[in-house]
Structures are given as C-alpha cells and as structure tokens.
C-alpha cells in the first residue's frame, strides 16, 4: 500500500495538522471513497472529512467528490474559503 501525504488548510490544519501521512488503500480512488477510507484510519479524520462543505484539491485545483486520485498526486482538504 502506498503512503500518501494529505494536506490541510484553515481550521482543518488547526484540527489535524498541516499534513498527515496516510495509507492509500486502493488507487485510483474517488475523493468520495478516499474520505471514507481516511475516516476509517483516524478518528479525527471522520468528523473533519464528512462535512460536505470541506472540499478536496488535487494538484492545487478544487475537484468534486467524483474525481479520481492516485498516490503521488498532491491531495488537500480545505474548508470554505474566507476570501481576502
């Protein structure tokens, strides 16, 4: 299983740290399934990642829950933007 770094920003970074190493149980995987897989790996992921307002970014671009990701891509979860 591939190790993958997941990044967090805003209040998620405060709750979970700036980044965490996780196991990519399968790949490619949809963001929807990745949320479930991560929630199973750590209790604090569960609360943070089921919130539908928390969006995923792949390689710096916001994606939908249907998007497929592979190990090695830059994956981040972000709360709603506050704007400037």
């Amino acid at each position: 299983m591939a190790q993958q770094k997941i990044y967090f920003f805003g209040r998620l970074a405060e709750q979970l740290g700036r980044s965490r190493e996780v196991e990519m149980v399968e790949e490619p995987i949809t963001i929807r399934d990745l949320r479930v897989a991560l929630a199973a790996q750590a209790v604090d992921f569960a609360d943070a990642l089921v919130d539908p307002r928390v969006r995923a970014c792949v390689d710096g671009v916001i994606v939908t829950d249907d998007a497929l990701v592979r190990a090695g891509q830059e994956i981040a979860f972000i709360p709603p933007l506050s704007g400037g």
């Binding site: 920003f9 209040r11 405060e14 970014c57 710096g60 709360p79 933007l81 506050s82 704007g83 400037g84």
Partner: protein
Amino acid sequence: MAITIRLEPENLQPDAELRAFITSLNGDGAVVSFTGLMRPTSKEGEALTGLFLDHYPGMTERSISDIATDAAAKFAVEDILIIHRCGLVLPGAAIVFVATSSPHRRAAFEAADYLMDRLKSDAGFWKREDTATGSHWIEPTAQDAKDKERWSNIHAGN
C-alpha cells in the same frame, strides 16, 4: 498590459508600492489604488489582537491571478498590481493593496472596485480572528456574495 501578483508574509507598505507602481507605468493617464486595513474589532464588536491568513502555496496565488485576468478582460486597464498579506496581520496594518492603471480614469476605478469584490469572496485564504480570549475561523459573508454579484451582468467591452 502587465499583471503582477504577490503574497507578502511580513509587512505590506502601500505608499512604497504605489510609488513603485506609478514609476513603472508607460504613458497611462490614470491610477487607482485601494488599501485594505485590518479593523481592530470583529463584526460582533469584539477587540481583535490579530488576523491570521492561512494560504495554500500555489493555489492561493492562482486564485488571485485568475481574478486579475478576469478584470483585465472586462475593463480597459493597462497594469494591475495585487499584493496580499498572508500570515499574522495586526490591527491597523495593511492586508491588501490593489492598483490599476488605464489611459482614462473610468476603467481604472471600475477594475479596482471589481478586483476588491472578487478578492473578498474568491481569493484562496482562510482567515482566523484572534482575540484575548480565543480565536475563530471566519467564512465568506452574504454581503461578500452580494458585492460579487454586482458584476455578474458586466461583460468585456461594456
């Protein structure tokens, strides 16, 4: 036409930035600038000790650059400069500086107004208000969405 975007982690000096922007111009007749300062109180009237702006390197710059590109397509501006603070900002300090230039004033005014409305909702930042007793993360307001909406019927060339 030049678009310049910068994230400033330390100290944003609007006066020096404006002077440099004006010096860099080549024949424009109008410059409009906007400086946003950190207010010392929250919307609820609480005294703030600081405002922390978290950002996602690469993604945040791209979000600002997209906004500037949209402004350049809508208004007859020559140059656009956007400098945004990141990290911890103290009350009274500059958070954002926007400058636009154009041959005649109208485009520069409108582009600066547009840039600020878009930045307020679409720039890739997460803001945390700090008080003496704690802190909380803030999300975009309905007013921000309404301000952005003002521009939805304005297209390039209008």
